[in-house]
């Protein structure tokens, strides 16, 4: 069957064991987690977990249903029409041309966020496919370290 990529938002009770319930469900039933982000929802006792996953349509449907069965889960949203962003931090050596790095970051709606004695850090927040392209493009500047965040999404 055809694998599709899907972003799922899960609104949960903000309690200590809830992330392990969600992650454990994915592990126990053999579902994929491509990225996972979690943070409290402002002004509430709830948190939002955003998971990017892959699977055939039946698997995705099962993931949604199984998540809904978890007691501390309020809402599961399978995103279709969404704005989806991911963040990446890249550390470059200052032996590379700083101006060129800055131009690259700006091309991807990013910027240089820190410059030290021998390195600088670029930050880009954009759609996941653009992040992938940015990482590919930054390879020519010999990055020392690349730290990718998970996906966050909001329904349009």
């Amino acid at each position: 069957m055809n694998e599709v990529r899907r972003v799922i938002s899960i609104v949960v009770e903000n309690e200590s064991s809830v992330l392990s319930r969600v992650a454990g469900l994915f592990a126990g039933r053999g579902y994929n987690i491509e990225t996972l982000t979690v943070a409290p929802i402002p002004n509430s006792k709830r948190s939002r977990i955003t998971i990017a996953t892959k699977g055939d349509e039946r698997t995705i449907a099962q993931i949604t249903k199984q998540l809904n069965k978890l007691i501390p889960v309020y809402e599961v949203v399978e995103h279709n029409e969404m704005v989806e962003k991911e963040m990446v931090l890249v550390k470059f050596p200052l032996s590379e041309p700083l101006a060129d790095i800055e131009v690259l970051c700006e091309a991807y709606n990013g910027t240089i966020v820190n410059v030290g004695v021998d390195m600088c850090i670029g930050m880009v927040a954009d759609e996941p496919c653009r992040i992938k392209h940015f990482i590919e493009a930054s390879a020519r500047f010999n990055p020392i370290e690349i730290v990718r965040g998970g996906v966050v999404a909001i329904e349009r």
């Binding site: 392990s20 039946r58 099962q62 069965k69 889960v73 309020y74």
Partner: protein, 570 residues
């Protein structure tokens, strides 16, 4: 009212109407046991192993429909209970299990008898709690019972650190629960029912397929009325035996790996499956890609996750089985023609005549199937029958005439050896006036045999019928068929003296080698007020048939030799 956490636990159990708690004390749960000592709201049964406590609570729940309650200590007490939790989880049995935990100050320090109970039990409970504040305890206990018994039922664990059971707090037991994130019972949509009714009226070969959910939903009466009205034949899973009643002319039998010929052929040829609280388990479907290839599927299930999990469903109906079936009956009334499916039932009757559920009896040696049929003739509807897991379980399922739901208690989903005896204790506690028989094997019975002592101490006289073939029979059967008779570690010739073992535990034992001896032993055991072992030497190499080999299509059955080729056409 001010009281400590331990007293709160007792008060909550009383408030929930709990009459019997099965358990085993230990360090971290001692405060609660101290409170139990001082109360008389419920009885406590001291099992001799925590696994048995949970199985006993489970047997109690299956027999009565009430929430079963077990209590264990932390660490090894809890880990021993895990098999019981998983058994109940797989069969959706409502339990509340209370475990002690190390004091909060020791949590996460690898303290003595500390284990992460919440982490371990997460995949085998419907929900679990670690209590972190005495103020939360009454609410959590209330929620635990509510979650266990509503929606798709299941076991709930409440893990309570020792300092919480010692701490004083204000006890007000909540009257209701406030769980906005918890879906209980989705209301059956009448539009879904209408579509299903249309599909039933259009079908030529419809088949009612009944699962354990029908028992949990107490839907037996409604389902019998549905079948009666529509004259649609029905098959039952291992978990649903008794829903239709053995004598019901519309009941074809059990389907699946050890289902009878007519049931499996019906499922293979039907054009409309009406699934009522069943979940298309692999032991039912056989090879999935060849399962019921001509069928559209109506699937009634309280758990939306079961719908289209394994088999694509054309007419999903989410909700309580009983409610949905009652709505189907109203929808079909006046529309369905009673003769509509006569041809289909005739085909199935021919299949049943061709290969009825049968076995070749013997005068020289007791056949295990004979024992079950004899039990059925002698006890019939009166008895509750529990079982362990293996050949004896399948023979009991095939040959005992179950007439009502909750009469047959076994571990279907997890397949837990050692379930039968403690479950029988639980069932007998729920129904002290009924005869409770545990059909077991010489392998399974040793996996919780210590419960003989519990049975004797509390005078819970259950009768264990041991079909003794000196083999781990079901594994041996697979080795015969699929491993060229290499009987790797399945020969149980070296075994205890079962009669003496029962007697050593203050019970009564019988060694049986003839049919007459069995009749006498059973009669005597029923009259005695003691836990009994009836140890029966049965035919060693008898196989459970029919059998669908693992991952073969459901109509690809190994059949017994004595079919009736003259009775069927084809």
């Amino acid at each position: 009212m001010q009281m400590n956490g331990a007293q709160m636990v007792c008060e909550a159990l009383v408030a929930e109407g709990v009459k019997t708690v099965f358990g085993y004390p230990g360090g971290a749960i001692m405060n609660v046991y101290d409170a139990i000592y001082k109360q008389d709201g419920f009885e406590h049964i001291l099992n001799r192993h925590e696994q048995a406590s949970v199985h006993a609570a489970d047997g109690y729940a299956r027999a009565s429909g009430e929430v079963g309650v077990a209590m264990v200590t932390s660490g090894p007490g809890f880990t021993n209970a895990v098999t019981g939790l998983a058994t109940a989880y797989m069969d959706s049995i409502p339990l509340v299990v209370i475990s002690g935990q190390v004091p909060q100050i020791l949590l996460g320090t690898d303290g003595f008898q500390e284990i992460d109970a919440i982490g371990i039990s997460r995949p085998c409970t419907k929900h679990n709690y670690l209590v972190r504040d005495i103020a939360e305890l009454p609410r959590i206990l209330k929620e635990a019972f509510h979650i266990a018994r509503t929606g798709r039922p299941g076991p709930v664990l409440v893990d309570i650190p020792k300092d919480i059971t010692a701490e004083m707090g204000e006890f007000v037991y909540p009257e209701s629960v406030d769980l906005p994130s918890y879906m209980t019972i989705p209301k059956v949509e009448s539009s879904a029912i209408e579509l299903a009714v249309e599909a039933i009226l259009k079908a030529k070969k419809p088949l009612i397929y009944i699962g354990g959910g029908a028992v949990l939903s107490n839907a037996s009466e409604a389902i019998r009325a549905f079948a009666e009205l529509s004259q649609i034949p029905a098959v039952e899973t291992l978990m649903a035996l008794g829903v239709m009643g053995a004598e019901n002319p519309l009941r074809l039998g059990m389907l699946g790996m050890h289902g009878n010929y007519a049931s499996n052929m019906a499922m293979s040829e039907t054009d409309l499956i009406i699934s009522l609280g069943a979940r298309f388990d692999d032991r039912v479907t056989g090879k999935l890609s060849e399962f019921a290839q001509y069928a559209k599927v109506i699937h009634v299930d309280i758990d939306p996750a079961n719908i289209s999990k394994l088999v694509a469903v054309d007419y999903p109906i989410v909700g309580d089985v009983k409610e949905a079936v009652e709505m189907l009956v109203s929808g079909l009334k006046g529309k369905v023609q009673t003769k509509q499916y006569d041809d289909w039932r005739e085909i199935l009757a021919r299949y049943d005549a061709l290969y009825p559920q049968s076995f070749e009896d013997s005068d020289e040696i007791i056949k295990p199937q004979w024992v079950i049929e004899r039990l059925g003739e002698t006890l019939g509807e009166e008895a509750i029958v529990t079982s362990d897991v293996g050949q004896h379980q399948m023979w009991a399922a095939q040959h005992y005439p179950f007439d009502r739901p909750r009469q047959w208690i076994n571990s279907g989903g997890l397949g837990t050896m050692g379930f039968g005896l403690p479950a029988a204790l639980g069932a007998k506690k729920a129904f002290p006036n009924k005869t409770v028989i545990n059909v077991t094997g010489d392998g399974s019975i040793l996996m919780n045999v210590q419960e003989l002592v519990t049975a004797s101490e509390y005078k819970i006289p259950v009768i264990n019928v041991i079909l003794n073939n000196h083999f781990l029979g079901m594994v041996r059967q697979w080795q015969t068929f699929f491993y060229e008779e290499r009987y790797s570690e399945t020969d149980l010739t070296f075994q205890p003296n079962f009669k003496a073992l029962a007697e050593a535990c203050h019970g009564i034992g019988y060694d049986v080698t003839t049919k007459e001896e069995f009749d006498m032993a059973l009669k005597d055991a029923i009259e005695q007020d003691k836990v009994a072992f009836i140890n029966i030497q049965v035919a060693r190499f008898e196989n459970v048939l029919p059998m669908v080999p693992a991952n073969a299509a459901l109509n690809n059955m190994m059949l017994p030799k004595i079919a009736n080729p003259d009775k069927g056409e084809k």
